[in-house]
């Protein structure tokens, strides 16, 4: 058993990290930090954890030292927290956007603020085992990618790795409301958010930079809030290189993900769930990826992915990265397959 601490533990990602770690056979949750709820039980804001733990939140000051520290705090705040919290743990896994980009200038452009610790950016490994399994084995600074970025990256990687597509990619992301965290703003009011199809980003979304960095493509991204609490789907509109066939595409996906425990290739000709869709992934660490070529023989190819933003798009991916880091079986604590119907 290793000892873990979670900062930002009262938030949605923090709660999901707690859920997964509490069910993890090799991790003990030793501390959960919240400034709003110190001394209160974690199953207050996270009622699904009732009966599974008696843990209470503590303050940052009460932290001592841990094997692993999860940061589930807002971007821009996290780069300020990291320097003082990092000494408290051997391994730090950051779920915010602050250490995902390697380039401080790109960070400043995307996040509207100068990075306060550009010197640390180089220390971080991308917390996505499908991309960086080997590096993660020895990593002690891990930055998990954004939820929509993770989906787009896993949809595109088989194509870019195999050199099958042109660099310009349209990333059309659809997301549920939990993606904005537990923040009660007007935009997240049930009566406003319910049933919406809200194009809240029409270009320049931050995750573009992560996708570009990971896949070497030129993404332009739109993001639409649709009716869902959990769930992200990304539809990437790409162009096949000359001469590439759908069979090449299918082979590339199969090959790339043959041994991946948490990526499933879903591109079927029959049935209701032919392409990736997030609803059957609630609570699951799977990312489903698929593709659809244009019947008419054009070079257009859709690359599609779906995941639960709080799991494979966040906490689950972080725990999977920990498993890799520790040399444990990668599925440990992440076995829940998702539900149907739901």
């Amino acid at each position: 058993m290793i000892r873990a601490a979670v900062v930002g533990a009262a938030g949605y990602i923090g709660g999901e990290v707690l859920r997964l770690l509490l069910g993890h056979p090799k991790v003990e949750v030793a501390a959960a930090v919240s400034s709003r709820y110190p001394g209160k039980r974690v199953d207050g804001p996270h009622p699904n954890l009732r009966g599974t733990t008696d843990l209470a939140f503590c303050t940052e000051e009460q932290l001592d030292s841990y094997d692993v520290l999860f940061l589930a705090t807002p971007h821009r705040a996290t780069m300020k927290l990291l320097p003082r919290l990092a000494p408290k743990a051997k391994t730090v896994i950051d779920l915010s956007g602050d250490f995902r980009l390697r380039d401080a200038e790109e960070f400043a452009r995307r996040y509207g603020a100068e990075h306060t610790r550009p010197d640390l950016l180089g220390e971080f490994t991308t917390g996505l085992p499908e991309l960086a399994r080997e590096q993660l084995a020895g990593a002690d600074r891990i930055a998990a990618p954004g939820c929509m970025a993770t989906a787009a990256i896993l949809a595109l990687t088989p194509l870019t790795d195999a050199g099958l597509i042109e660099p310009d990619v349209d990333v059309d992301a659809r997301t549920g409301s939990s993606g904005s965290g537990a923040t009660a703003g007007e935009a997240n009011l049930h009566a406003e958010r319910s049933g919406s199809m809200r194009l809240f980003a029409t270009s320049g979304h931050r995750h573009e930079a992560e996708i570009a960095q990971a896949c070497g493509v030129r993404p332009v991204m739109t993001a639409t809030g649709v009716e869902a609490v959990r769930g992200v789907q990304t539809v990437c509109r790409t162009t096949l290189r000359e001469g590439v066939t759908e069979a090449d595409v299918r082979a590339a996906y199969r090959r790339r993900y043959a041994d991946e425990p948490f990526v499933r290739v879903v591109a079927q000709r029959r049935g209701l769930y032919r392409l990736p869709e997030p609803k059957i992934l609630l609570g699951s660490n799977f990312c489903d990826v698929g593709f659809a070529a244009d019947g008419s023989g054009s070079r257009r190819l859709l690359a599609i992915a779906a995941l639960d933003n709080l799991v494979k798009g966040g906490a689950g991916n972080a725990v999977q990265s920990l498993n890799v880091r520790m040399g444990w079986p990668e599925r440990l604590g992440l076995e829940f397959p998702g539900l149907h119907p739901v």
Binding site: M148, A173, G179, S180, A187, F200, G225, N309, G313
Partner: protein
Amino acid sequence: MTTAATTACPECTTPVSTESDLRLSELVECPDCRSELEVVATEPVVLALAPEPEEDWGE
């Protein structure tokens, strides 16, 4: 008495009608793109985009 003039929205170029008794720092709304515009000069009226709290939706 106030008289109306128009000036272009700096965001979308739509004509925005402005009253002559506008004061510095006052906020007006573009009728088209609904930008919030700040009066940064009065004779003649110059409008600038008012800063807006960042919206953070979808991670």
